[in-house]
Amino acid sequence: MTTILAVDDSASMRQMVTFTLKGAGYDVIEASDGQDALDKAKVSAVDLVLSDINMPIMDGIELVKNLRVIPDYKFTPILMLTTESASDKKMAGKNAGATGWLVKPFNPDQLLATIKKVLG
């Protein structure tokens, strides 16, 4: 089963993402900030990471940097969920090693289409 790590400090967004992904047959692990996500990624096999950028404790950009140095996560697709339409945020994510982004607000169908784009 494909496991997706969904990282967002907002519980409502997490619920929405989880509900949508589980409905589409993915396994979902939730994390509420970057550190939480990093801890969970280390102990589980994750096929795709979906992360918010602005979060307390550890933000999404730091999370990507930290994940990319872990051998298991060298090539894992990491998507940033972000309300930032400004390109500097996207670039910061890309430079840290993120695969791509999905601009909020998005609806469940857009989310699934993007995931499918990465997971094939």
Partner: protein, 716 residues
């Protein structure tokens, strides 16, 4: 849309309220001259989450408005905009505005954007002045060459040379090509000129470029979208195929690929399997038409999932430790139950000690379970206190006073219902302290005090009660003015000799207000009497102490919970009633000399220096007592609202904790009764409401005073 987003609305609303509270308290703490980056980040994050959520869940009014708020916050946190003190107020107003909108949406109505639009304009003025506009939403990033032809005729010629590190970002050219193949017929050829010699080759890097030809009527934007994430680092050219181009002419010779392929394959087989696949595919030159993935699959599944009904009740957040504790207790209870079951199934008298021990354990576990359950309803009082920093901030500005608010004991826990209902009285008292208590800076300086006044909100446990104090270091209550006013209003006569305490207590009397001019702040038509009544409804009390020149202390005492009561069982004839233990002062065996009969048929008990009216319970409830004579029964002296009465009963029984069942919910409100409970033997017992009982017995405060006076003069 296949997923019903409304099921997430409640969580979103709750989360937004939390976010707004965070914003508010952070804004109140912010020091404009020296902005702490963590604070501003915190505010930004909260605004950001609200915007993200509201956009996602379709609350565009909120998303639109929060967007400008967030934009300005973003500029502040990136030092592109210098925050001014009045910006804080603008942000605070925005918080209010968003809160109002969310409340409206939560209530099921549409939200009014009038206020938001006004504020939005103010933000836009700031944004225009401080910074040259917000970063515009950058539409699909520019590609190096763009075709003017929107539809591309019969296809596109694409040259794609990704960044050498593309694989290290989790991007995969093969995946993109597959996506392209979905748009039409695709042919791919690799350009492998840059693949270095074996010794220099980094297996994780991507050295290959591709020429792709896509036949079909795909839009340029569709093609661009596929490369959206990598376009900035890659070389990408998209040119329309000339009309009528021969598709086969585009296919270039693949021999260089086939030459290189085996080496590359060996090298990359471990490190970068994705890379290998790409190479493999490329070698075949034409990507076979990828099987059309079943796009609607996800939709169907999500649609099948049961739509959860929107939760109507307001939820309560409980720490996991409390839940764990509860589960633990239940586990213990189950063990005890099975142990008792075992004893019971094969009971002999020898087992009696075991049974007793088991029952003892059961009662202990039940008690612990009860405490655990009760603690779930307990919330830290910071929930009620959290609104005060803002309130004090706004009010002190309105009144041109300088006030510092100190919160103490914010972690003191209180029942949720009590908390909700104490909030308004607290607000009133704090307003009152600010308005009437704290002096203006000039007056304070003249009195030799610091011009900054202090209001302290403090909460702590004391016995079975929670005590909340509102302490100000203002002028204190003006005794003379209170007395004059009270006499003027006819609440007391000028011949009364009142202690300071009694005079201060007058402010809680109905129809009393000393404010000469009704101010915006505390002149809301609600007097202190309402505060006292609200608190008494919670079985609490409020009193005031004051020292002229150095301030006042309002002390509120509340029971920890409303659901359980420490009760004293009393008996009148066949009926057992429950008196709240807390209201009982003492119980005495009456004797003839202590009973005074006064005119009007009211009997008075002389209790040391006091005269206390006697209330015959059998008379009020019209039941048959053991004996109607006062001398035969017991007198329980109880107090409520500073009135003492002696209740005549037949007998005192056990003291026990009782669970209050509301009469109002199950039957109807009955004066003199605050509820009912079920006793150990299964009978229903009524819980007496002392305040109501006093009223029923017709003992009014005035009458009580009169009685006291008559007797004083008699005694003298």
């Amino acid at each position: 849309m296949s997923v019903d987003l409304s099921q997430f609305h409640q969580v979103f609303f709750e989360e937004s309220h939390e976010g707004l509270d965070i914003m508010e308290s952070a804004l109140l703490n912010i020091d404009v001259s020296n902005i702490d980056s963590e604070t501003i980040n915190e505010i930004f994050r909260a605004a950001h989450s609200i915007k993200g959520g509201s956009g996602t869940f379709g609350f565009n009014e909120i998303a639109d408005f929060t967007h400008v708020v967030e934009t300005l916050l973003d500029l502040i946190r990136s030092d592109q905009f210098v925050m001014q003190p009045d910006n804080v107020d603008l942000f605070l107003k925005s918080v209010d505005c968003i809160r109002t909108m969310i409340n409206e949406l939560e209530g099921g109505s549409t939200c009014d954007t009038e206020q938001a639009n006004v504020l939005k304009q103010q933000f836009e003025v700031l944004l225009d002045g401080g910074f040259s506009g917000e970063p515009e939403q950058s539409d699909a990033s520019e590609t190096k060459v763009s075709a003017k032809d929107e539809t591309g005729g019969n296809g596109w010629q694409i040259y794609f040379k990704p960044d050498i590190d593309i694989l290290r970002t989790g991007n995969e050219p093969l995946r993109m090509f597959r996506e392209l193949a979905e748009l039409g017929e695709l042919s791919v050829s690799a350009v492998t000129d840059e693949i270095p010699a074996l010794g220099e080759l980094d297996p994780e890097a991507c050295y290959t470029a591709w020429n792709l030809t896509l036949w079909g009527d795909a839009d340029e934007s569709q093609v661009k979208e596929i490369f959206e994430w990598v376009v900035d680092e890659s070389e990408l050219t998209i040119t329309p195929l000339s009309l009528g181009a021969d598709r086969h002419a585009q296919t270039e010779s693949p021999q260089e690929v086939s030459l290189e392929e085996p080496q590359v394959q060996d090298l990359t087989s471990n490190a970068a399997p994705q890379n290998l696949v790409s190479q493999n595919l490329v070698s075949k030159n034409v990507v076979p038409q990828a099987p059309k993935p079943e796009r609607p699959k996800a939709e169907k599944k999500a649609g099948d999932a049961k739509k959860e009904s929107k939760p109507e009740s307001v939820s309560i957040r409980v720490g996991t430790d409390k839940i764990d504790n509860l589960i633990n207790m239940v586990g213990e209870l189950v063990i005890t139950q099975s142990m008792l079951g075992e004893i019971g199934s094969d009971f002999t008298v020898e087992n009696l000690p075991k049974l007793m021990a088991g029952l003892e354990q059961l009662s202990q576990h039940t008690r612990e379970l009860q405490e655990s359950v009760m603690s779930i309803r307990m919330l830290p009082i910071s929930f009620a206190f959290s609104r005060f920093p803002r309130l004090v901030h706004d009010m002190s500005q309105n009144l041109s006073k300088k006030v510092e608010l100190i919160l103490q004991g914010e972690n003191t826990e209180l029942d949720k219902t009590v908390m909700e209902r104490i909030s308004d009285p607290l607000v009133h008292l704090v307003r009152n302290s600010l308005d009437h208590g704290i002096e203006s800076p000039e007056q304070r300086l003249a009195a030799g005090k610091d011009e900054m006044g202090q209001i302290t909100l403090s909460a702590f446990h004391q016995g079975g009660n929670i005590v909340i104090q509102i302490i100000d270091d203002g002028a204190g209550l003006n005794k003379d003015r209170i007395l004059t006013k009270a006499i003027e209003k006819g609440l007391v006569s000028d011949s009364d000799h009142l202690s300071d305490e009694q005079i201060y207590d007058l402010i809680f009397r109905a129809g009393f207000s000393t404010a000469e001019a009704v101010t915006d702040i505390s002149g809301r038509g609600v007097g202190m009497d309402v505060v006292r009544r609200n608190i008494q409804e919670l079985s609490g009390s409020v009193e005031v102490e004051s020292t002229p020149g150095s301030g006042s202390v309002f002390t509120i005492r509340l029971p920890l919970t409303l659901a359980i009561l420490d009760g004293q069982l009393i008996r009148v004839g066949q009926n057992v009633y429950i008196l709240p233990l807390i209201s009982i002062i003492e119980s005495i065996q009456s004797y003839d000399q202590a009973i005074h009969r006064v005119s009007g048929g009211c009997d008075i008990l002389r209790l040391r220096d006091e005269y206390v009216p006697i209330v015959r319970l059998w008379e009020i409830f019209n039941v048959k007592p053991d004996s109607k004579k006062v001398e035969d029964g017991l007198l329980v002296v109880v107090e409520c609202e500073n009135i003492k009465v002696a209740i005549l009963i037949d007998d005192l029984q056990a003291q026990q904790q009782v669970v209050i069942k509301s009469l109002n919910d199950n039957y109807t409100t009955v004066e003199g009764l605050s509820g009912a409970t079920i006793l150990g033997d299964g009978t229903v017992s009524l819980i007496l409401d002392i305040g109501g009982l006093i009223k029923l017995a017709g003992v009014s405060k005035e009458q009580y005073k009169k009685v006291e006076h008559t007797d004083d003069s008699e005694a003298a």
